[in-house]
Symmetry: C2
Subunit: 344 residues, 2 copies
């Protein structure tokens, strides 16, 4: 099934392949009648230039790649959506690669790198060494939700200030004094920054800082276990009146623990999450959380990649996009029925 090539078109239109190329891409002036003949031939043969030949000659793929841990959950979908929109608008294809913790991730990423003009890497999916190699080989790279490696570009969402704001909301507005942090500051820079903001809020009010985070991976089952641990107060101290969760998944698990331990969320126990997953507003009571501009993160990344691909050098760009506290009922705020929020 050999496709029709530029030579077929040239033959049919009675011109050289150079002229077909010029008509096809409008790269140089062509006489009107010639252009018409060529256009007619292209139309008749349904000619579509072969991307590989074109790419080889142009020395570019016109495609960008994106590497993410996995597609489950709304988080990455949104980022990819934003990225794809920006890329497609600029006439670039988008190749995706999900590492979901596979061993061979490094090789796969190197392979992907050889298929695209630039790479967006999300989170902790790729060993630093690989990133460094690719970057040093001159491949445009943008990192997202991940600390820069060397002088790569990077974009992330704000964590520290918003975490502090949310903690202060619990302290100042709802009067909480014993708040537990559920999450794992060590496993990701995001987590560490949220913990920092949380601690800073306590300091700024002269409160005895929380002694440490209740370790929990960012999954529901872990959140459940951590919440039980926190609320059962095995040591003689009084249990916390509020749970500050590192993300919404953890918060989901804490709801279950709260129910089991007969604590009423939003009344005698405040819970907050992070991410504003779609489910958050449908929980009873609806979850107070933090919304990240995920689409915009993807958009920014794509644009930064373009700048590198086209513009070339320049100093590394780092961007921090603002996040937003979303107050719902789980922190004790007046109940706004979930259903009344505008559709996202």
């Amino acid at each position: 099934m050999r496709g029709t090539t530029i030579r077929d078109v040239a033959r049919r239109a009675g011109v050289s392949i150079a002229t077909v190329s010029r008509v096809q891409r409008g790269s140089a002036p062509v006489a009107d009648d010639t252009r018409d003949r060529v256009a007619a031939a292209i139309e008749a043969l349904r000619y579509v230039p072969n991307r590989l030949g074109r790419g080889l000659a142009e020395r570019r793929h016109r495609a960008m790649g994106i590497v993410f841990p996995d597609l489950s959950g709304p988080y990455f979908s949104e980022v990819i959506g934003g990225f794809e929109t920006a890329a497609t608008d600029d006439d670039h294809g988008v190749m995706v690669l999900s590492t979901h913790g596979r061993e061979a991730a490094a090789d796969r990423v190197r392979d992907l790198a050889s298929r695209v003009d630039g790479l967006l890497i999300l989170g902790r999916t790729v060993p630093d060494e690989v990133i460094r190699d690719l970057h040093e080989a001159g491949r445009p790279i943008v990192l997202l939700a991940r600390p820069p490696v060397g002088d790569t570009d990077a974009v992330r969402a704000e964590n520290r200030a918003t975490a502090a704001r949310l903690a202060l909301h619990l302290i100042d507005v709802h009067g909480h004094r014993r708040i537990a942090f559920l999450g794992d500051p060590d496993s990701s820079p995001d987590g560490a920054e949220r913990w920092d903001g949380f601690v800073a809020a306590h300091r700024s009010r002269g409160l005895a800082g929380p002694d440490g985070p209740i370790r929990s991976l960012y999954r529901q089952a872990e959140g459940y276990a951590a919440a039980r641990l926190a609320l059962m107060a095995v040591d003689a101290r009084e249990p916390p009146t509020a749970l500050f969760c590192g993300n919404d998944e953890i918060a989901l698990g804490t709801y279950r623990a709260a129910t089991e331990l007969h604590r009423r969320v939003g009344h005698d126990l405040a819970i907050t999450g992070w991410d504003d997953i779609p489910t958050a507003r449908y929980l009873a009571p609806a979850l107070t959380t933090v919304r990240q501009p995920m689409r915009e993160l993807g958009l920014w990344a794509a644009r930064a990649l373009f700048a590198r691909i086209h513009g070339g050098g320049g100093p590394p760009r780092h961007e921090v996009l603002p996040t937003q506290v979303v107050l719902r009922a789980s922190c004790g705020c007046a109940t706004t029925p979930m259903q009344e929020e505008p559709e996202r």
Copy 2:
């Protein structure tokens, strides 16, 4: 930033480029010492073959494409995830294209087709004409959740039998006699089949069939409006005691309408959805719905595409994967606290 090419390696190893190629891909025997020299040169220069050159020579991209409406919602993420897994395991890249109702979709799809070896098309994203063209041009294509065009391959989830089963559950187990169907049978084949099954269930019990679906697009706001319409019973007839929703989004909207009209879901109003979105189990009461094997759909599609790419011809393959009713509390079944379901 001209990358190192096969010629650089050949020069350094003191061999011809043919030999480098042979070593690199193991396609023909090479003497041990030669191989070692070449391997050393490849290593030293960090040589990675250029995909475009290779693709051109091999006459294939080693990539597959996937076209979907948009990335929001868990549905497509899962399908793409499955597809990506299968493709990557077979050493193929995956290019994604989201049409989100854009006008230029047809051109974009044609463009994508020229970048990959095979195409998976989800739902109603692409005009039939484009699909037909590509298929007739010999491009491997698989359609998902969409009726075949001509003799293309296609895979979808079962709808009719499961819809009937779910409707019979409402009729036989919970004794409902007036059930409204909320959705739009005309907008998608999936919807039409669910409606068919719904009607068939009524017939099989000798019930006066429902006079027609309450039209609703597959979105929350539309579901809300449709539910109000159904429950307010403007015509003198008694309002339905159960709402059979075409998907979970619609069901989400009906919860709100039910609350406003003082109907208690799971008690004096049964509601069912379709898709089993992550939120479904966290609603109060948890939503009875239907789970589709989304990952498997993506996997099947990728494998079918491979078969076409490698194997070539053969009769069109159509596959229908089974779906599964998930009983929760919204239909009136005994409440299983959402939290006790195993994590997905």
